[in-house]
């Protein structure tokens, strides 16, 4: 990590770093520290008095069936979003890698969902599946399948999963395509000369060589499912029906801003922080091992 040639100056590096350090000090570390502090306290709704309760907020959370349900739900949601997102993008990338004509066109069209805001994606999908005026809901009804995600919990979950996967396809697709294109053609040719058919080549050469990309995308997709899907859920189902699509980050928002239970919300934030840090550390360690400067 050290460069051979370095500049010597006592004050210049600090001057360069100052803006960044100031901003992250005020807007990151100070609030993060406060979140941790708050998670050990109970505050009344008006903020008049605070009481130190140690780990009680955390203990309450772990005993609370609503919280544990939300935990399970978030786990299910992120596995579905990550799994489906990766599978679909991989298929598209494999075929996109093979063609020569119109490659740029397909790529451009497939990237567009990246630009769509999560909340707008939620609005679009909610619009398509709306029991009263949604086009897809209507045609599903004609096929005999009654769609009403406002009442049906499973369907609500399916809706937010689909919307989230739709939005993430572009990102995963780009990475898989780059990963595939970085596999030396000579390997593929050698396998082909040895008589391996396309399926064999995919399964035994391309897929294993894609595993760093797949792992990287797995972590990114899980973090995405945990946090960036807030807008989708707020627009499509608002956590409902009941609590069935209220994933952990949505619950933090509900408990903190709607119910004003600040201590519990802060504790939930801290737990989320721990999960994200763990995931990022795992990913960083894994990726750093493979990179040389």
């Amino acid at each position: 990590m050290e460069k051979r040639v370095l500049f010597r100056s006592t004050w210049l590096p600090w001057a360069l770093l100052l803006p960044q350090l100031l901003i992250i000090g005020i807007f990151f570390f100070w609030p993060a520290a406060q979140a941790v502090l708050q998670s050990f306290q109970i505050e009344d709704a008006f903020g008049m008095s605070t009481e130190w309760v140690g780990l009680e907020n955390f203990a309450n959370l772990l005993d609370d069936p609503t919280y544990l349900n939300s935990f399970m739900r978030t786990a299910l949601f992120s596995v579905l979003v990550a799994g489906l997102g990766i599978a679909i993008s991989l298929i598209l990338a494999i075929f996109a890698d093979r063609i020569v004509r119109a490659a740029m066109l397909y790529k451009t069209l497939l990237i567009v969902p990246y630009a769509v805001a999560p909340v707008i994606a939620g609005v679009l999908w909610m619009f398509m599946f709306s029991p009263s005026l949604g086009v897809v809901a209507h045609y599903l009804g004609e096929l005999g399948y009654n769609w009403n995600h406002i009442m049906n919990e499973g369907q609500a979950m399916a809706l937010v999963v689909l919307a989230s996967v739709w939005k993430q396809i572009s990102y995963n697709f780009l990475f898989f395509l780059a990963g595939l294109q970085s596999i030396p053609k000579s390997l593929i040719e050698a396998a082909s000369i040895d008589g391996a058919g396309p399926w064999r080549r995919f399964w035994n050469i391309q897929l294993p060589l894609l595993s760093p990309t797949t792992f990287f995308l797995l972590v990114i997709n899980i973090v995405y499912a945990f946090f960036d899907t807030f807008g989708i859920i707020d627009a499509a189902t608002a956590g409902g029906p009941g609590q069935s699509t209220s994933i952990l980050v949505y619950k933090v928002y509900q408990d903190g801003f709607k119910s004003l239970d600040l201590g519990s919300s802060a504790a939930q934030s801290v737990i989320l922080m721990i999960i994200v840090v763990a995931l990022t550390v795992v990913q960083f360690r894994y990726v750093e091992k493979k990179v040389q400067y």
Binding site: K3, L6, I24, L110, W125, A137, W166
Partner: protein, 282 residues
């Protein structure tokens, strides 16, 4: 490809076309909805082909017809989104270039501490620290302001980290040559390093612009005045009318308009964006 199997090429195109159709369908539907009257949409099923009301719907959406339940028209919200996105993008890139330069090319006490402090901010998205950040912003009197909208979002170090990765790949010979020619560090930075970083800057521009434009949770919490709403919040609020009928055609027209700037940025800068995203994220 290596072997000649034309049926695979046909299959590839088929799969890709299906993929593009699935990806494009919600957007197509939104566009169609934005060209009909509200009544035509509410009568299920909605027609699947564009209607004749494109111009009037978009005019109503952009310049406010009074039916949206707010006095703010969409043009103003687009402006708020634009300013927010640009401030976040330019601010982040500028600060990060300086910080990455300091981290990579200088030796000073507590360097590693600074590096890890900056790296730590990568790990926690704003959603995890919303409540206390809200408190800090409120205490600083920055609610309902551009400063409040943008500063907390500049506080994550994605750009610094990416620039650092990039700077580490710049050959040392360039620095040596600059020093031999008598250039100081800032001269080197301005005349050598920054021009070399163009691709990364372009990629980060796209990523941060979209990130800033699409921000939802943070503006939702800290803006209470309608004329500080970014356009994505405006769209969601149009749906919030419980008893009042939602003008779906206007909502969809607004959604399409809201999607245009980020889509334009992605498509125009596609080449740099893809290169920068993939090369530097690894």
């Amino acid at each position: 490809m290596v072997d000649r199997r034309p049926w695979i090429t046909v299959l590839s195109h088929l799969v890709l076309i299906v993929g593009v159709l699935i990806v494009a369908f919600p957007l197509y539907l939104a566009f169609v909805a934005s060209t009909h009257t509200a009544d035509a949409i509410v009568q299920s099923p909605m027609p699947l082909l564009p209607g004749a009301h494109l111009w009037e719907n978009y005019q109503a959406a952009l310049f406010g017809s009074g039916k949206l339940g707010s006095n703010t028209n969409v043009m103003h919200m687009m402006w708020v989104s634009f300013v927010t996105a640009m401030v976040i993008t330019v601010g982040k890139i500028a600060i990060s270039l300086l910080s990455a330069f300091a981290i990579v090319y200088f030796r000073f006490p507590f360097k590693m501490l600074c590096f890890w402090a900056i790296f730590l901010t990568l790990m926690l998205p704003v959603e995890v620290r919303i409540l206390p950040t809200y408190k800090v912003v409120a205490e600083l009197g920055m609610l309902n302001s551009y400063a409040g909208l943008t500063l907390p979002l500049i506080a994550s170090a994605t750009a610094t980290f990416l620039f650092r990765q990039f700077f580490l790949t710049v050959p040392d010979e360039l620095v040596e040559a600059a020093r031999i020619d008598g250039a100081g560090p800032m001269r080197f930075f301005k005349d050598v390093l920054v021009p070399l970083s163009k691709t990364s800057v372009a990629a980060l521009f796209v990523i941060q612009f979209i990130y800033g434009w699409n921000q939802y949770l943070w503006p939702l919490l800290m803006t209470t005045s309608e004329d500080m709403y970014p356009v994505v919040i405006g769209i969601k609020r149009m749906l919030a009318g419980g008893e009042a009928a939602v003008d779906w055609n206007i909502v969809m027209a607004t959604a399409i308009v809201a999607m245009l700037p980020p889509a334009a940025v992605v498509m125009l800068m596609q080449k740099w964006f893809v290169k920068g995203l993939v090369d530097t994220e690894k």
